[in-house]
Subunit: 370 residues, 2 copies
């Protein structure tokens, strides 16, 4: 089959003007925010040894890599599917002697073996910040705040942060609402499906109130507090309230304490970011541990944003393009560009300001509206 010249593989696409310019602008604005909070940029390699990447990725992610045999090394290489994992690798190897907390940020393309139903892209932009060496409430407050700042800088409005407690069931089972170890997974599954009947069948009626402790933060956290857990929840509730307080007035906060999807590797705190007008989540984050081959795992807190939907919906900025007629001298062009103009120079008599999308023409030393 002859492939049409403009056809790209499923999940891949070109960005044309002005969308490609918007993409650059949005990413810059967000990265500038992360940098302003002291997060230093890292740029990990786009491919790694598949075995090493899979081992660090773990779980479902390990089979989600685009793989190829490298004719040079003879090894199987994988294209990265997540930059967070790479930042963890860098933090615990080449930067293991750097002082903690270590603040790192990144921006790049990630690739997926298969598209997800709600996200047809297999090449995605990922951008994020990781605070390595600290998973305290203070770290969580900073990370959530930086994520909101970054989205606001990209022009996102009406942000909602959905909090979760990824290890909630394990913690309750251990400290307050005993469960046989072989039932923990089953209870988690029923909670995932919000299946009250299923919980009862499992003899886990004590976990039923968790299903109701969801929704707008203040009401939901009260329901969580009402669960008699002998104090096992007190510190977690206090932590969530602290984080919610730092966000107050800047984003809506909701709580879904048993939400696990996408938080398989988070420790005590996780969050998902939504915004009005975007059907899918814009990003997520939380606290986690980075496994080290040569020592104890290291605590960290961070977030990842997937800004492609922002870019697709962002508005084009109004660029003023100034047409320079034939014969305009080079120094004039340079001066106008240094003043912030985008200049479009005529190359011959056929070039026309209007056809070339210019808003202005340089006539007699003045920028005249087309």
């Amino acid at each position: 089959m002859k492939i049409p010249p403009d056809l790209l593989p499923e999940g891949f696409r070109d960005r044309l003007p002005p969308q490609a310019e918007v993409a650059a602008r949005v990413s810059r604005a967000m990265i500038d925010v992360l940098t302003s909070y002291g997060y230093a940029r890292v740029a990990p390699a786009i491919a790694e040894f598949e075995s090493a990447l899979a081992e660090r990725s773990g779980g479902a992610a390990r089979n989600q890599h685009l793989r190829f045999t490298d004719p040079v090394s003879g090894h199987t290489l994988a294209l990265r599917g997540d930059i967070t994992v790479q930042v963890g690798r860098i933090a615990t190897t080449r930067m293991q002697e750097s002082p903690r907390p270590l603040r790192l940020c990144y921006h790049g393309q990630v690739l997926r073996l298969k598209a997800k139903q709600l996200r047809p892209e297999r090449e995605l932009t990922q951008l994020g910040a990781e605070l390595i060496g600290n998973d305290s409430v203070a770290a969580a407050c900073e990370i959530v705040g930086v994520a909101i700042d970054a989205l606001e800088a990209a022009g996102v409005k009406d942000i909602t942060i959905d909090f979760t407690l990824p290890d909630l069931v394990e913690r309750l089972a251990e400290k307050a609402l005993p469960l046989a170890p072989d039932k923990i997974d089953a209870v988690r599954s029923e909670l995932d499906m919000k299946d009250a009947g299923g919980l009862s069948v499992l003899g886990a009626d004590a976990y039923l109130p968790l299903l109701a402790a969801t929704g707008p933060f203040d009401a939901a956290v009260e329901k969580l507090r009402a669960i008699d857990a002998g104090g096992a929840l007190a510190s977690r509730i206090q932590a969530l309230e602290s984080i919610a307080a730092t966000v107050a007035g800047r984003a809506n906060v909701t709580l879904d304490p048993t939400e696990r999807h996408g938080f398989e590797y988070q420790s005590w705190f996780g969050f998902t970011i939504f915004a009005k007008g975007y059907s899918a989540a814009l990003g997520r984050g939380g606290t986690y541990y980075i496994d080290r081959a040569d020592g104890p795992s290291e605590a960290a807190t961070g977030f990842s944003l997937y800004p492609d939907p922002l870019i697709d919906l962002a508005e084009e900025s109004n660029v003023q393009r100034l047409f320079l007629p034939l014969g305009t001298d080079a120094a004039t062009g340079a001066k106008l560009r240094s003043e912030g103009w985008v200049t479009v120079a005529a190359l011959d008599e056929n070039d026309s300001a209007a056809v070339l999308g210019c808003t202005h023409i340089w006539i007699n030393g003045q920028a005249v509206t087309v």
Copy 2:
């Protein structure tokens, strides 16, 4: 074999701070220059159907792609090795109705099957501008000027532009210094090797003076002019002089009229960019044709820069990092960041300004030097 956790495949590497920040700064500065000349950003997909990419790449490049079988489509996909080819595809398909000249620019990662001897990287940054629909002297002047501006914005000094005339032998053979068609390739090879003896053996003594017409532009172009080519060279020499004149005072210009390496697809004009302190070329460009499946090929002029060496050698900028002690309120931090400070907030009593690389501490409402 167990792969060490910090080992990457040959030709791939991570950029750490501050080099990763330099990379972002250098690329931004260069892209901003291209944009200021009216080049609109495009962001082509990182992977394409291998057969389509190979067909458009042609020649040696077609076998230089990293390839993999896509489990989704069943097709072989290739990671791009050159963005110029992709821009040509976009210009002649989805943007074929856009007015000409069409100015497009790009910035992204390209991947190579094998490293080159002088360039061990297999993941490289490529950044460039293409002026599609025009390959005139005016177009060449603009493109060379934009390339110099971009490099200057990245802090590069002492730039040398080496001009070449990629179709020189064909032109001379056709119009002035007849050669049997089956000897053209042999003559080109001898010229490539600067082998005077080889030219004589081929009975191509008339081409010997080309070997001497190299070096600093003014002297070399005089030697080129002295070749009795019955006027076949006059327009080319005039064109080179026009381009050299626009560059005068901004870059050194040299001439190597028979240089072909890297110019297999250029038409009448090619150039390579060097700068003091960098052993390898920083980029190249020239005039060329974009083949179209559905019509005549289209003339274009452009350049590509490979800024990785710039990034590796660039100096770190002096960033002022301001430590915010515990208890600094959020509004103060926001105000300081809006003033241009990079702030680093203490998360607990153990955090120290000096250890975290801060230059200043916020004390009593003032930024005090550490």
